[in-house]
């Protein structure tokens, strides 16, 4: 789908990215705040296992997952089974299968670069991409790439700072992971103000609370996702009208 035109098109491409990054930055400020805190916490925990900030940067670059990396810190001890590590990682990230489901139609319009969007689909980036309308005059693909890349930069910076700080001063980071909670509360409130129909938000909260009580803290995410999908399918007629209003059909060819 991508057309590699002559030199002029190349120049357009770069200026398009500059514009996309400029326009994307304000939208990523919540994630900047959250990621500096929780990336920092990962860096501190990883440093406590004996790893330098270069290792933290490597993990945050190639893995790039919030709760996934928190969990992974426990894998870096002698004798930990690789199979167990793979299984636990799949379990903690299984919700991303559903995120993908909701973006497949949108991302499949893009070229090969969409694989970076897929790689970078963290909770925070997913939430941001789904709640942000592409501004006028910016190419949608470039805008989403800019958001994803900026978010990952914050994450890498946060983890590097955390790991460096931990190697210099004895820093008590207990409780710093609350930044992630605060971030989602903020996103929830923003969404609450913006949407006319708030039923899906409430379905998510209630389904999660019920599943948490029934299945416990370690096993409730998958049942919750399945419950949410079942409820929205059953209530389709009532939700469909409001769903259409979150439209972000801004893919005019620039």
């Amino acid at each position: 789908m991508t057309v590699f035109g002559p030199i002029v098109a190349g120049a357009d491409e770069t200026s398009g990215y500059k514009e996309a990054f400029r326009k994307a930055f304000p939208y990523t400020v919540p994630v900047l705040t959250g990621y500096l805190f929780i990336g920092l916490a990962f860096g501190v925990m990883f440093a406590d296992q004996g790893y330098s900030f270069l290792w933290a940067i490597l993990v945050s670059t190639v893995v790039y997952a919030g709760s996934g990396q928190y969990l992974a810190v426990n894998f870096f001890v002698p004798g930990f089974s690789l199979l167990q590590a793979a299984f636990l990682t799949l379990m903690v990230n299984v919700r991303h299968v559903f995120y993908g489901l909701s973006l497949v139609d949108r991302f499949n319009k893009f070229g090969k670069k969409r694989w970076y969007l897929i790689f970078g689909m963290t909770d925070e980036t997913y939430s941001l991409i789904c709640t942000t309308n592409v501004p006028e005059g910016v190419d949608e693909e470039k805008f989403l790439l800019a958001i994803t890349a900026l978010d990952q930069l914050y994450w890498i910076a946060g983890s590097a700072i955390g790991a460096l700080a931990a190697s210099i001063v004895d820093f008590n980071s207990q409780g710093i992971e609350f930044a992630m909670t605060a971030l989602f509360i903020v996103l929830f409130i923003e969404l609450w103000y913006r949407r006319g129909n708030r039923t899906p938000e409430l379905i998510g909260v209630v389904a999660a609370l019920v599943c948490l009580l029934v299945f416990g803290a370690d096993n409730f995410v998958l049942p919750t996702m399945l419950t949410i999908v079942a409820i929205v399918l059953i209530a389709r007629k009532r939700l469909d009208a409001s769903a259409g209003r979150s439209g972000k059909e801004a893919d005019e060819d620039a």
Binding site: F76, R95, I176, A182, V232
Partner: protein, 110 residues
Amino acid sequence: MLDPVQSLVMIAVVAVATFATRAASFLLFPKGKEVPDSVKYVGMVLPPAVIGMLVVYCLRSTSVLTYPYGIPELIASLTVVALHVWKRNIFLSIGVGTVLYMALVQFVFV
């Protein structure tokens, strides 16, 4: 800490497993394959529900029945809500909420 080679292997395993969950839907519905209408619809209503779920997910390990009975989480969460409704300033909401929570669990509810 693992030795460097073991560390690299472990990082690779975690990276591949993470990417697999994110890529699964895109392998199921590759480019050019029509995405069913019901999947498109679920995709539209899912994001707000997921954000609701993630708030609960972040608070999942809160000890409600034993000390400190979820009080630090409750105080910090209500502070974030109040600050954000009042000022709509993201730095302020997340920054104050997080520092307050850290102070509560490190100094008050020890």
